[in-house]
Amino acid sequence: MMCEELKEMYELYAMGVSGDPERNEIAAHLARGCDACTHGVKLALQTVSFLGSIAPMVDPPARLRARVLAIAASQPKSNRFWNWQQAWMAAAAALTLLSLGLWNQLIGIDRSLDEARQQILAMTESQEKDRATIQRARGALSFLNQPETRLVTSSGSTIELPPKARVFVNRRSGVLLMAGNLPKLGPGKIYEMWLIPKGGAPVPAGLFQPDETGTAMHIRPGEMDVAATAAVAISVEPESGSTAPTTTPILVMGL
C-alpha cells in the first residue's frame, strides 16, 4: 500500500489498535525506513499521548514516589535471574484458574505478593517476558480479591475434569509444578514427579499429595540442565516413592 493510503491509520497504529492489513503495511514501511510513515507515526504517537489528559486526575498514594525511587536504588544489582517468589506468585494465581478452591489461601498469596513486588522492581529488560506471566497472575489475583467475586460450586453434581498441570523450569532453581484436577488416590498411594532426560531413564523428582480439591504445587529445587531435559511427568506410586515409574504417567509435559 502507498503511504497516502496509510496515513489515516497512523494514530490507530500508534495506539496499537489498527487492524490488518494496515498494521502490517505500516510496520513494513517503518521497517524499511519510509520517511513519510516514520514521521507520521512519530507525530501520531505524540498526538495520541496527549489523549492521556482526558483521564480524570487522581492523586497517587504518597508511598508510590518511594517505590519508584527504589528502582534506581536497586538497579546496579540488575540482571538477577527471575526467582521462585515470582514463579510462586504466577503459580499461585494460575492454580486458582485450574481449581477455584483456593479462596482461603489467598490471604497468604497476597502477602507474598507484597514481597514479590520488591523483586519485580529488580527485573530488567530480558525479564519482561516473565513479567507477562506475572501480570496475568496479578490479573487473576485482583479478580479473586474483589469482594464481589464469589466461588461457584456445582453442589451435588460432580464433574470429572481431566488432570492439568503447568511446569516452570529454571536452570538454577529447578522445577515448579502446578497441577489441578488430580484424582484422589487410594490409601498407600502418592504422586511422584519425574524428570525425563533426552534419551535417558526418568529421574525421581519428589513426591506430593494434592489437596482435597485435587490441586498441588510441587518444587524440585536445585540446578537442572533444562536443555538436556525432554519432559516432566507425573505418575502414581506407592507412598514411599519409586526409583523408576511403576505405573503409566498420568501427565507428561514436554519441555
Binding site: L43, Q46, T47, V68
Partner: protein, 195 residues
C-alpha cells in the same frame, strides 16, 4: 480547569535536563521525573485498569522501563513527556489485554511503539504544551459517539472491530466515527499529516 499535562509539558528545558541526568544514572533525576509526570501517569493507568493496587505496580513498571531504556532517548530532540505517557498507557493496556487473553497481539504491537527512538528527532512547529491543550479542547468538541470510540481505543485498547462488537454497531459506522474523530483532532492540531 487545570491540566497538569500542560504544566508538565511546558518546561521542555527541564525535561532535557532530567533526561540527561537519567542517562547519567542519577537517582534523584528519577524523583524529578516522577514529580513531573507521576500524577498524570498514575491517573492514566488508573483510568485504564480501575484498580489502585494494580495501578501502583504499573506506575512502578513504567518508570522502571523508562529508566532501563533512557539510553536510547535523545535528550536534545526527544519528547520525554509523550514517551513516558506512552509507556504508561501501554503498560496498562498490556495488563488489560493480558487478563482478557488478548496478549499475543499487544506484546508485539505496543512494544514497538514505545521505543525512545520513536520520540526523538521530530521537528514541530508547536510546543508540546500547546499541542496538548489544543488536543484536549478538540476532544471536548467531538460528539458523543466520536468521544466514545476514541476512549475505547485509548483507554481500552480496542480495535475498530472490537468497538463495533462492544457498542453493538455496524463496523462501517464505527469506522466513520473513528475516522471523523481523528480527522477533527488532526485538523485542530493543524497537522494534516502530510509529511
Amino acid at each position: 480547569m487545570f491540566f497538569p499535562i500542560l504544566f508538565a509539558l511546558a518546561d521542555a528545558k527541564a525535561d532535557r535536563e532530567i533526561a540527561k541526568r537519567l542517562k547519567n544514572r542519577e537517582q534523584d533525576a528519577l524523583g524529578q521525573l516522577y514529580d513531573r509526570y507521576g500524577r498524570l501517569v498514575y491517573s492514566i493507568i488508573f483510568r485504564i485498569v480501575k484498580n489502585s493496587a494494580v495501578a501502583e505496580d504499573l506506575v512502578q513498571e513504567t518508570f522502571l522501563r523508562v529508566w532501563n531504556r533512557v539510553q536510547g532517548f535523545d535528550e536534545e530532540k526527544g519528547a520525554l513527556g509523550p514517551w513516558v505517557l506512552t509507556v504508561a498507557r501501554n503498560r496498562a493496556i498490556d495488563y488489560l489485554r493480558s487478563i482478557d487473553g488478548r496478549m499475543s497481539q499487544s506484546m508485539y504491537e505496543l512494544s514497538g511503539n514505545e521505543s525512545p527512538e520513536m520520540f526523538g528527532n521530530l521537528e514541530k512547529d508547536m510546543l508540546n504544551s500547546d499541542r496538548a491543550r489544543v488536543l484536549h479542547e478538540a476532544f471536548k468538541k467531538l460528539n458523543e459517539n466520536q468521544k466514545t470510540v476514541i476512549e475505547l481505543a485509548y483507554f481500552e485498547g480496542l480495535s475498530q472491530t472490537e468497538m463495533a462488537e462492544k457498542m453493538n454497531q455496524p463496523l462501517g459506522t464505527v469506522k466513520t466515527w473513528v475516522r471523523t474523530a481523528l480527522q477533527a483532532l488532526r485538523n485542530e492540531l493543524g497537522e494534516a499529516l502530510t509529511a
